[in-house]
């Protein structure tokens, strides 16, 4: 058991992690390295295996295969309470029979750290809740409980702090505030943060590095800007922000660009921003990179032109207006236009052309119609076997 505070955050390394539950596979051969001191976000839709990954790291589940290393030390078989890891649970899991102060001091007391009370008060001051130290969790609001949960984890100065959708229950304003606070705390204490979330905006605002997870695998990993500007798969392109995607054959791949034939139109993409350079490929562009024009623009080098299309929907959202443009042969395209003038620039039903700089396009490694990666394993004998094994193991342990 760690009897002192971690000096700094530690590296986390997952090697070939696989986790199977009766009836389905949650994670398939996952490799992941998180450098010490970083704020790492694991982003994905619900059911993608991100919470399972977190629970594996915390020691609340055992991997079916693979190893987990924290700071270079193999902790795969280490019990939860001996791991230098703390978790901020999605449900907060504050002990209802203890005061806020007792909750925060709980971990310190278990490790017999001197001045537990003092340190707990300091942690509560960090989240600005010291004045509520004697209250019970049930007397606090959801946002306050969230901050107590955070203080209870941070006060232990773990080498690795795991955050499981920690801001999910908060309203938008409080969430923004907490995002900033969290980022600040991470900077102040220099721990390694692993943040699991399905909120892409939250992940992009807070994390240094984001790994986008889908169906038990990491689709793409990188800095938020990198992931946004150059998604490599259709899932990333659509989960992280929105994208306009088209599929067609490559007709020429000369020089720095490849040209794709999309329903008779030639669309160019920079060669180094495309994952595949031959055959049927999917290319895309972000909605805010598109420009609308009501007259047909002149052909010019370095610009893609699509049109004419018809505006089928206009929705105003404050800073920008979102247009849906129906382009024959391409389907519906989404355009975000900054509101530089009052009111919409083009009206519903208008005939428009869409243009974007070739440099803004990207080419994907797969196409949007990818089927499920794991076939559901609903064979009942399989489920029954695994259940029985688990029960037997449990009876033995009891």
């Amino acid at each position: 058991m760690a009897t002192s505070f971690a000096e700094a955050g530690a590296d986390l390394e997952l090697v070939g992690i696989t986790k199977r539950f009766p009836g389905f596979t949650a994670i398939e051969h996952l490799d992941l390295t998180i450098p010490a001191g970083s704020f790492f976000a694991l982003l994905g839709p619900s059911g993608c295996g991100k919470t399972t990954t977190l629970r594996l790291i915390a020691g609340l589940e055992d991997p079916t295969e693979g190893r987990i290393l924290i700071g270079g030390k193999d902790v795969t078989t280490t019990k939860t309470f001996r791991r230098p890891v703390n978790t901020v649970f999605q449900s907060y899991a504050l002990f209802p029979h203890m005061s806020i102060l007792e909750n925060v001091a709980f971990g310190l007391k278990r490790r017999r750290i001197a001045d537990a009370q003092q340190l707990a008060h300091e942690a509560l001051r960090l989240v600005e809740l010291d004045h509520l130290a004697q209250r019970r969790p049930s007397q606090l609001s959801g946002g306050q409980q969230q901050r107590v949960a955070l203080a209870r984890a941070v006060v232990n100065r773990p080498a690795l702090l795991l955050l499981d959708e920690p801001l999910g229950a908060l309203d938008l304003k409080l969430r923004r505030q907490m995002q900033i606070e969290l980022k600040q705390i991470q900077g102040d204490v220099g721990l390694t943060f692993l943040h699991v979330t399905h909120d892409q905006e939250e992940a992009m605002t807070m994390a240094d590095t984001i790994a986008v997870m889908n169906k038990g695998e990491i689709e793409q990993m990188g800095a938020p800007e990198e992931l946004y500007e150059l998604p490599k798969t259709a899932f990333v392109a659509n989960f992280l922000g929105q994208s306009n995607l088209f599929t067609g054959p490559v007709v020429s791949a000369k020089g720095d660009t490849i040209v794709v034939d999309i329903a008779g139109r030639k669309v160019a993409v920079p060669r180094d921003r495309a994952q595949r350079h031959a055959g049927e490929v999917t290319i895309g562009v972000r909605p805010e990179k598109l420009a609308l024009s009501t007259a047909e623009p002149k052909e010019s080098a370095g610009v893609n032109i699509v049109g004419p299309g018809r505006v089928v929907d206009v929705s105003f959202s404050g800073v920008s207006t979102q247009y849906q443009v129906q382009v024959p042969g391409l389907g519906t395209m989404t355009v975000f236009a900054q509101n530089m003038a009052f009111g919409p620039v083009v009206n519903l039903g208008a005939e428009v052309w869409l243009t974007w700089t070739v440099d803004h396009g990207f080419g994907l490694a797969d196409d949007p119609s990818a089927g499920p990666r794991f076939e559901p394993d609903e064979d009942t004998t399989q489920i029954a076997t695994q259940r029985r094994e688990r029960l037997e193991a449990e009876l033995e342990g009891a």
Binding site: M1, L60, F81, N86, S91, A93, L94, F95
Partner: protein, 305 residues
Amino acid sequence: MAFGAFSSATPVAAEPAVRRRSPIALFLLLPGALYLSLFFLVPFVSLVLTSFKAPGEFGDIGEYDYAFKWENYVAVVQTYWPHIARSFGYAAVATVLALLFSYPLAYFIGVKLRRFPLWQALALTLVIAPFFISFLLRTLAWKQILSDEGPVVTVLQALTVLPEGAHITQTPAAVIFGLTYNFIPFMCLPIYTSLERLDLRYVEAGGDLYASPATTFMRVTLPLSMPGVISGTLLTFIPASGDYINASSAFLGAPDTAMIGNVIEANFLQLQNYPVAASLSIILMAVILIFVSAYIKRSGTEDLL
């Protein structure tokens, strides 16, 4: 569920400060109030009056006149203090033993079997199953099993664990065993109700915060299941201290294991000494009330009642 009577896990929400009195509420109270006054208050007053009665002038057995003979109480305590002490002693030991047996059982059913609802239901049924047979019969069956010619004594004597000529029945141990056995379901079910709704995420949080499984149990699981433990111990201790079946000579006891219940029974039904029986009953009630309120105060769970 009656077993959950004391074990509301949710803290009592703050009542609205002002609540309008409505005649409908009083009207709805009427049947309960009538029932209580008819079947509790009236007999209780009658019991108190009986406890102060004096023997009738003509000295016939079972005839007493209304009086204020408080000396009844003094006499009763002087005569029967060993029975009073024995009752609460046996009941306390049986309660502790029942708790030691029931907690692991309730934990297994309420927590470990949670993922197997069918097994859980089956195990619960097994806990309740003894109630399908009259507890007189069950206690008699134990008398048979533990009797001098019964299998237990024979085997223990063959193994020389028990000396030749020793008994199991008619000893305090047999009475305590009978009490423990008969009240285990009353202990087990409220603890089960508490543990069954224990949120295991608290246990996970304990492990995450460096508490070993043993520490997590002591600091998290046990405190959170305290409402069940309290109601279980009360549901066992209160009836056990007034029990007169297990301790009676016809069952597992002997004259020297008699508890208050046996004395009350004898005075009411055989000796027809109603004032003594009544004052004993009231002493029993008073002592239990004092014990229980001290216990609840100490365990800090007044808000759970």
